[in-house]
């Protein structure tokens, strides 16, 4: 499966914002420390951050 197909699947399943984010990820020739930090920060969101009103 090509990257284009993966991004297309992401667009259908998750919408344009996620598809665009994946496109940007693949267009980075070399991630910076800031890029890495953003990834790990995303994964550190607590469960409550998502469900709390």
């Amino acid at each position: 499966m090509s990257i284009v197909e993966i991004i297309a699947l992401a667009l259908v399943k998750y919408g344009p914002q996620v598809a665009r984010a994946i496109y940007d990820i693949f267009n980075k020739p070399s991630p910076t420390q800031e890029d890495w930090d953003k990834v790990f920060a995303m994964a550190e969101k607590s469960y409550e951050d998502y469900v709390k009103k």
Binding site: M1, E5, I6, L9, A10, V12, K13, Y14, G15, Q17, V18, A21, I22, I25, F26, K28, P29, S30, P31, D35, W36, V39, F40, M42, A43, E44, K45, Y47, Y50, V51, K53
Partner: protein, 111 residues
Amino acid sequence: MRTSLFLLPVLFLAACANLEVNAYRTLATTATVVDATMQGWGDYVKAGKSNADEEALVKKAYVAYQVSMRTARVTVESYHLTKDATALSRVLDALDAAKNALIEQIYSFKL
């Protein structure tokens, strides 16, 4: 269709020579997909459509995913020194499994 997105890490590692760039692509895509899925789950919970048992199951799966992501972080950071591609590959497989388990859990009862 959902299975195809789950195959992402394997495709990334097989396709390209630069392991660190591929690790970034795998981890970043995984985090992005999980974040989007959890946002959907959060909307579902806030709408009052879930019950306590379902929330407990999703929370457990999400915490397991976070543990895998932290392990991946340590392995990626140590890869600069160790150059242990096998360890990196193993950790990314474990992360993929945790991600899949979380998404499958949410989709098992989310309509």
